[in-house]
């Protein structure tokens, strides 16, 4: 009991840290940033392949019905990353809270509701450049840093309805909002030149809607689908509207199959037509935005079929194209391998899930990045079971 408490305390300590500025990868510098995953730690452990079936993720509103009780989920991630670009190689680490959800079934009904927050696009970065400038004809060493904190958040209100025992449907509305606080600094080697700091704020506002379905054609097999339409994202700089960016339609499908009583395998494919954002991105200085495809596959092995979420082994692989080019050339992409597990305690009303991902992102030969990402999700459930389960 003590040990369990210690684990929980440490986990909570890890979560209750001051909100720090965080940095996504260098592939989040251009465009709207690095797209978020909207996934819980348990989904990330299987490569994201089970996200459409996971009520703790914010992907498929129909999956909310899988939450057995009123549930609160908080996910945090810590990344260690090494980036290489034409300027050199650098290591960075970051911490952020990409996913929060509170929701669950309405007692004595076929309805489940949830409110969630997740990262839609992460644009935290700091770029340092060392060079020379000759403001009065004499070369002087300078250090420039360009940094951005913030990103676009996805606030979602979702409902799931159990049509019958084999079919769940869901609907959600999304509000996309966020701020990029951009700062440019220059420090001169010659201190007779004053160091400078200029800053600006980009803020965003947009809306979207998503619908999803989960269908069980037979025992042990589940199919899921999701479609999401996001509208225009209004961009304002320092409170003045500067343009808008069309956001993509997301179409995703997945299948999960039980192999025996302990093993489940799943695969998922997702397509986003980010090219609709290209004109808006390019007109505001971006390089380009391209459509993306994302594939993932994974498995979950349960040591105890009666407590499937207690100490499972999750493995997954994921390949995804990234929408925003950091430079001219091919489209950036990432591939990741993940593993995860979790425990349930307090009569299965609390859980701790952990996922570790090894990721590699590249665009051509000029830009590459490897990263370890540790994700921890804490979930707590309250209330009694509904009469319909």
């Amino acid at each position: 009991m003590m040990r369990r408490g210690l684990i929980c305390s440490l986990a909570l300590l890890a979560l209750v840290v001051p909100e720090l500025v965080a940095q996504s990868s260098q592939f989040g510098i251009r465009g709207l940033g690095l797209p978020g995953r909207s996934s819980s730690a348990r989904t990330l452990g299987s490569g994201g392949s089970m996200g459409l079936f996971d009520g703790e993720s914010s992907l498929n509103p129909a999956a909310l019905w899988s939450l057995p009780l009123a549930t609160t989920v908080l996910t945090t991630s810590q990344g260690w990353r090494t980036s290489t670009n034409p300027a050199g190689t650098g290591s960075a680490r970051d911490n952020r809270f990409p996913q929060f959800l509170i929701g669950g079934p309405i007692p004595s009904s076929r309805l489940a509701l949830a409110l969630s927050y997740s990262t839609y696009a992460d644009r935290d970065f700091t770029l340092a450049t060392i060079g020379t400038a000759s403001p009065r004809g004499v070369p002087i060493g300078v250090i420039d840093t360009l940094s951005s904190t913030g990103g676009i958040n996805d606030l979602r209100v979702a409902a799931s309805f159990l049509v019958h025992s084999r079919l769940q449907v869901g609907l959600a509305v999304h509000a996309l909002t966020g701020v990029n606080r951009l700062t440019s600094r220059r420090v001169w080697e010659d201190t007779t030149f004053l160091s400078t700091r200029q800053s600006s704020e980009l803020d965003y506002l947009g809306y979207g809607i998503s619908a999803g379905v989960i269908y069980r054609p037979k025992v042990g097999l589940e199919l899921a689908g999701m479609i999401r339409q996001d509208g225009d994202l209004t961009v304002r700089q320092d409170s003045a509207e500067t343009g808008s960016v069309d956001l993509p339609i997301t179409i995703s499908a997945a299948g999960r199959m039980a192999v025996g009583s302990r093993l489940a395998v799943a695969a998922q494919i997702t397509r986003r037509d980010w090219s609709v954002a290209n004109s808006g991105i390019v007109s505001q200085g971006g390089v380009a935005a391209k459509n993306t495809l994302e594939y993932s596959a994974g498995l979950e092995f349960s040591r105890d079929p009666r407590r499937r979420d207690h100490q499972p082994i999750r493995l997954g692989v994921r390949y995804a194209q990234l929408p925003f080019l950091v430079g001219e050339g091919g489209q950036p992409r990432e591939i990741g391998f993940s593993a995860g597990t979790g425990i349930r305690f307090a009569r299965n009303q609390a859980g701790l899930d952990v996922a570790v991902e090894r990721m590699r992102r590249t665009q051509g030969s000029a830009f590459s990045e490897t990263a370890w990402v540790l994700s921890i999700g804490v979930s707590m459930q309250t209330g009694g079971r509904t009469g319909l389960r």
Binding site: R4, I7, L10, A11, L13, V17, P18, L20, V21, A22, Q23, Q26, R30, L32, Q78, W80, S83, N85, P86, A87, T89, A92, R93, D94, N95, D124, F125, T126, L127, T129, A133, P135, R136, D144, T145, L146, L182, S184, R186, F193, L194, T196, R197, Q198, S199, S200, V235, Q237, T242, Q284, G285, G286, F324, V326, G327, T341, L352, V354, L374, I376
Partner: protein, 397 residues
């Protein structure tokens, strides 16, 4: 499994607070918004708005007495009026009459001299107490006669800076008496002589520890033998330079310092874009001199620049402690002073007037009198070279 989770939780707790964000970048390739742009512009002083004025400070505020002879730097004399010395003193809480003076030391502090000239002699004269700051060189020279000469001392070539102590005793003390009929005051005059042109600076009473001191040594009988040797010191109440006025300013000239001490005001017209939308990196005030600066070899003068809080003309108040300065040395024909810390006050929603007041650091105390071209003459007028950074184009994706 629990151990694993424990380790993971510990690792997460240890790492959650650590962030290192910086990644090397190549701009403009990778940086949204492009490169940091830096531009340079020269803003001339507004035509007709540059003027020199005197009357801000008085002669008694000098920190140096200027002594000179010969045509190179003109003629200058020094006058020191010591504080009154009473006729009694206190010994062991008892007032006793001041007995006869055993000896006297007059201490002067040499701040700088012309080291290229040998044979410098410093002459001390007893002057009447009615000599004041209105005295002229001719009047003083009329009073500095062999009859009033107290001491003539050679300033050896190795003496460059430091105190000079002149001891008087015996019959020499007669000339140093604090005359009761003259309100017990003592005034001495200082004159420098040399085979040719020469000059030196001595400290005044306002120069801190470098002012003249008059020490009277007396013997007072006392039961406490530790108190037998007494001295009574007097600092100067006034010490000043008597020097002809600087040559009048010509058309198209600006002056700093001199006799009387002069200050200069400059006004600029700042373009709108520099007022509100750029970051000033460096602002250099550039002044071109009329002629190479003359003075004691190796001497320098500090030029102070301050912004104005409000522009009321010559009586404009300046910004408190914010300012810039640069040194001019003998032979310099111009000066450049970085004043970005002042120019930034000319920006923003409530800018201060784009105007400057220039003065030398120690007025009335330097042979160096910088003179610059103004907008009223044919020479290059004062100007402000501003290096600035336009607003970074943040909007780029």
């Amino acid at each position: 499994m629990r151990r694993l989770l424990l380790l993971v939780a510990l690792a997460s707790a240890a790492s959650a607070c650590t962030e290192r964000l910086t990644t090397p970048g190549t701009c403009p390739g990778l940086c949204p918004g492009g490169e940091v742009a830096v531009r340079d512009t020269v803003i001339p002083v507004t035509i007709g708005s540059d003027s020199s004025f005197d009357g801000f400070t008085g002669l008694l505020e000098a920190t140096s007495m200027l002594l000179s002879t010969g045509p190179a730097l003109g003629e200058s004399r020094g006058v020191v009026r010591f504080l009154r010395r009473g006729d009694s003193t206190i010994v062991n809480d008892t007032v006793v009459a001041l007995p006869a003076v055993d000896s006297v030391i007059i201490q002067l502090f040499l701040q700088r001299r012309d080291t290229t000239v040998s044979g410098l002699e410093l002459e001390l004269y007893r002057l009447p107490t009615d000599v004041d700051t209105l005295a002229t060189i001719a009047e003083l020279d009329g009073l500095m006669t062999p009859a009033t000469l107290l001491r003539s001392v050679t300033i050896v070539d190795s003496a460059k800076v430091g105190p000079f102590s002149l001891a008087f005793s015996g019959p020499d003390l007669a000339g140093l008496a604090f005359a009761p009929e003259d309100s017990t005051e003592l005034v001495i005059g200082l004159r420098l002589t040399a085979p040719g042109s020469a000059a030196a600076r001595f400290g005044t009473g306002r120069s801190g520890g470098q002012g003249p001191v008059f020490l009277s040594y007396v013997t007072i009988e006392s039961a406490d033998t530790a108190l037998r040797n007494q001295f009574v010191s007097r600092a100067p109440s006034r010490s000043f330079t008597v020097r002809p006025p600087s040559p009048p300013l010509g058309t198209g000239e600006l002056q700093l310092g001199g006799f009387p001490a002069t200050r200069t005001f400059l006004r600029f017209t700042l373009p709108d874009n520099l007022r509100d939308s750029v970051t000033i990196l460096r602002a250099t005030l550039e002044l071109d001199g009329i002629a190479p600066l003359t003075g004691l070899p190796g001497d320098s003068v500090r030029v102070d620049v301050r912004g104005l809080l409000a522009d009321f003309g010559a009586k404009s108040p300046v910004i408190g402690n914010a300012g810039s300065s640069a040194f001019m040395r003998v032979g310099d024909t111009g000066v450049s002073i970085d004043i970005a810390s002042t120019v930034v006050f000319w920006q923003g929603e409530t800018p201060l007037p784009p105007a400057l007041r220039l003065q030398i650091g120690e007025e009335w105390s330097s042979f160096l009198v910088p003179r610059f071209h103004s907008t009223r003459g044919a020479g290059p007028a004062p100007r402000l070279r501003i290096t600035y950074r336009p607003q970074f184009p943040f909007r780029g994706f």
